[in-house]
């Protein structure tokens, strides 16, 4: 049952990812990206990382992508016209080569993976309290550095967007 849910949402993530690149209209691409993030959140849930799943939805799908969509709507970006002109030989041969590449990559990856058990569903047993504790004790320095990084981004945005007095 969990394997079925994993397959369904992994397939949705891959299809949305491909859709993101294939679509010509930017809003459709942005919505496909939201689909990818939502599917990833479900996969995190299956691994047992419920806090990360909710944080993914709140921060990524709910705030970052909303700002992306704002910008696309305000700039009135329309559908792009695809300007790629190639002969049909190139297109068909390209698809075959792409498929061969994917097969080769998956073979190499599964040959170099360690032979022990991979990730199991529900492997991560920590609660939000554990994450909080780790964040403020073992990982305090990366936490503070990340917050300064975000502060730099904020200050940069305000400086760039201010009115010239």
């Amino acid at each position: 049952m969990t394997a079925l849910i994993f397959l369904v949402f992994a397939a949705i993530a891959v299809i949305c990812g491909i859709n993101l690149v294939v679509q010509t209209h930017p809003i459709a691409s942005a919505l496909s990206l939201i689909g990818v993030m939502g599917s990833l959140a479900i996969l995190y849930l299956q691994l047992g990382g419920e806090f990360i799943a909710m944080a993914q939805i709140i921060v990524y799908a709910g705030a970052v992508m909303v700002l992306f969509i704002f910008v696309i709507m305000l700039l009135n970006a329309g559908a792009e016209t695809p300007t790629f002109q190639a002969s049909s030989f190139v297109k068909y041969f390209g698809i075959i080569l792409l498929f061969g590449f994917l097969v080769l990559m998956s073979f190499i990856i599964q040959a170099t993976l360690p032979k022990t058990e991979g990730v199991t569903f529900g492997a991560f047993q920590g609660t939000a309290a554990d994450i909080g504790r780790k964040l403020f004790t073992s990982y305090l320095l990366p936490f503070e550095v990340t917050s300064i990084l975000i502060l730099i981004a904020l200050v940069g945005a305000i400086v760039l967007a201010r009115k010239e007095v």
Partner: protein, 403 residues
């Protein structure tokens, strides 16, 4: 498989609970609109819906029938996929967040032992915040897909307002979480269960009054209610982001707004007002619903004897009979412990939610609207620092008083 074995199965119990909650929620949404129209009308010294059914009680039914049978226009210039997707997303997400709201404690009906809640997540509050974050897309896409400047402006303003006020909302939510040291709704209510000095309830309202006020103001803005309803103001933006929607799509946006209101008041009740725990200890508080309904029934009966309007010769005694019947059911439940638990929990929870909804409607009838820049300034310059100060003060006190 005997009946009790079937009923003890988790999936069957969950299905029954889902059907019950969905039915009650959808009926509540329809009648919430009736309550709103009546309350606003009486505040404005008029009567409100009066003709459709006694005192307009069938008005929601008439509205639903009208909206279903109306012509569903899809204008030719809209982006069809997003135009049809937006109300669907709005309604689906608004109805989903009721899934983690507990209505009462654990109950045992015959062979079935279950909580009065659809599902309890360890991170229940984060789920509600996540769903309301994605609910912004329904409005933004609806405004953009209508291919209309007014709708686009209304949709963008509404989304900017919703994401700006999510910050003070989250900060106001975190402060009671610090006190209770948990993220799940059930344990939150259990934390607020006792009484100080024997009669003052340990609700989070009393230490966190600032947090409660910040939460209420932020939730007005999150649900696009007055005084923050510029995005759908009729005299500003020609009905804003739902200008181009008709019949069931329009009804979907309205249902989403009311469902958001219900969710946000349920969360406020659970976090700040103690959920289903009564304000004073158990043996005395059992008398309250009986007294409330009995006195209302008697008042209705008294006024029914010399009514002001001809219709009230019939409706007021009918109301009196209904209320006295409910009082009798509450009185009867004093002798059946499991029924008592269910009914008391439901009474106190729904009572608190209805009081908060009445405050929402009251504010709508009273206050004028914010201008858009005043609204954004209020969020970022006043409410967000206030929420932050509240959180820091709570954190300081918790850090100093725990070992």
């Amino acid at each position: 498989m005997t009946l009790s074995e079937i009923l003890s199965n988790f999936y069957v119990v969950s299905l029954i609970k889902v059907a019950l909650v969905a039915f009650v929620l959808l009926t509540t949404l329809a009648y919430l609109q009736w309550i709103e129209r009546k309350v606003i009308a009486h505040v404005q010294l008029r009567v409100g819906p009066y003709r459709v059914g006694p005192h307009g009680l069938l008005q929601p039914l008439a509205d639903v029938v009208k909206l279903i049978t109306k012509e569903g226009l899809i204008p030719s210039h809209v982006n069809k996929l997003f135009y049809l997707m937006a109300p669907f997303v709005a309604v689906a997400l608004a109805l989903t967040s009721i899934a983690v709201i507990p209505f009462g404690p654990e109950i045992t009906i015959g062979p079935v032992k279950t909580w009065m809640q659809l599902t309890d997540l360890r991170i229940g509050i984060l789920f509600v915040l996540a769903v309301s974050s994605i609910g912004v897309y329904g409005v933004a896409l609806g405004g953009w897909a209508s291919n209309n400047k007014y709708s686009l402006l209304g949709g963008l303003r509404s989304s900017a307002q919703m994401i700006s006020y999510e910050l003070p909302l989250a900060l106001a939510v975190v402060a009671p979480l610090l006190l209770a040291n948990t993220l799940s709704f059930r344990e939150m209510v259990n934390y607020q269960g006792g009484y100080w000095l024997g009669f003052i309830p340990k609700w989070n309202l009393f230490p966190e009054i600032v947090g409660f006020i910040v939460f209420m103001i932020a939730s007005f803005a999150e649900t696009n209610r007055v005084p923050f309803d510029l995005p759908e103001a009729e005299n500003e933006l020609v009905a804003g982001f739902h200008t181009e929607y008709s019949s069931m799509n329009f009804a979907a946006f309205f249902m989403a707004e009311y469902a958001n209101m219900v969710t946000v008041t349920c969360v406020a009740t659970l976090l700040f007002l103690g959920g289903w725990t009564p304000p004073f200890p158990a043996p005395y508080s059992d008398a309250v619903p009986i007294l409330v309904f009995a006195i209302s029934g008697l008042i209705a009966l008294y006024h029914g004897l010399n009514p002001a309007r001809r219709m009230d010769r019939f409706t007021l005694p009918a109301t009196a009979v209904v209320f006295l019947g409910i009082a009798a059911i509450f009185g009867l439940s004093l002798f059946v412990p499991m029924l008592n638990t269910i009914l008391m929990a439901l009474f106190w929870f729904c009572g608190k939610v209805l009081v908060l909804l009445f405050i929402f409607i009251w504010v709508r009838a009273t206050l004028p609207r914010f201008r858009y820049d005043q609204l954004m300034r209020f969020a970022w310059i006043f409410l967000f620092p206030l929420g932050m100060i509240n959180l820091l003060a709570t954190g300081l006190i918790v850090a100093l008083t725990t070992k």
